[in-house]
Symmetry: D3
Subunit: 62 residues, 6 copies
Amino acid sequence: MPFIQFDGGQMSKEKKAELVAKLTETAQEVLGIPSQAFSVLIRENSMDNIGQGGKLLSELHK
Amino acid sequence: MPFIQFDGGQMSKEKKAELVAKLTETAQEVLGIPSQAFSVLIRENSMDNIGQGGKLLSELHK
Amino acid sequence: MPFIQFDGGQMSKEKKAELVAKLTETAQEVLGIPSQAFSVLIRENSMDNIGQGGKLLSELHK
Amino acid sequence: MPFIQFDGGQMSKEKKAELVAKLTETAQEVLGIPSQAFSVLIRENSMDNIGQGGKLLSELHK
Amino acid sequence: MPFIQFDGGQMSKEKKAELVAKLTETAQEVLGIPSQAFSVLIRENSMDNIGQGGKLLSELHK
Amino acid sequence: MPFIQFDGGQMSKEKKAELVAKLTETAQEVLGIPSQAFSVLIRENSMDNIGQGGKLLSELHK
């Protein structure tokens, strides 16, 4: 703990590594908790599975 | 916000679109919050990954 | 299963009952799954704990 | 309810069945709630999508 | 990782300690992952915030 | 979307505002997605409700 769950779209392994490193560094700086205590879980979702304002992102971004 | 996470089984894109549209409309009517504020995230799970009463759904529905 | 997690603000018990009843009914109609199979979990959050576009809702709605 | 979400790595169907059976049995014994009331959801994640201490597990376990 | 999220009702600190100890032990035995790797998060919910089959648990258990 | 769920301990409103601002800024820089698209949800948990390695944090940090 702390535990960060990040739900977004598909991304490359490089972006995942960067996201994990920088979210952890940011939260560690704000809260003063050692970076070793942080877990991050990235969930990659299809634009068909996310709705905003009642519409799928895959329809909104066509 | 509000944010709705829906964990169910596999479904077609048409069902996802209908689910997002109708869950958003329903919640908007109950709460009086504009539909633009709602996000919905559909997670599709295998029946091998869901347990009910200690048994996998894939075993219960065989 | 299915399992619906609803993250929103504070609401009355009457609104919770209505939200649970109507989200379940809506999802049951879309997916053709018996309403008995649905669980709904409502989480009530402070506007101080939700951020949109980098700002707390409690600041945005002041 | 209760509802258990288990985020881990990939596992076989046999391990999933065992995990669901034993987590349910354990929680039922601790809380005295009938096992029929428990749902378990297993999410299998890539080691590329999990960070610990700012690093991906896929890098830490290389 | 693994990460276990447990959503249930209110419980005593003793029950929480027992639940964390035994869920971790159980999962560790099934998966062969050291217990140090496990995080457990217990969320306590009001019976007014949980719906089953379209009804609040607080109404079903009256 | 993206949607960030942050589970940690209790924190002040100032820390929440800073956390929301900086996590959003960080993720926006890594992914190149406009900050307006990000939602952040902070959940504050008691040290009695979090287990690490089979023990409650409230016991580990005594």
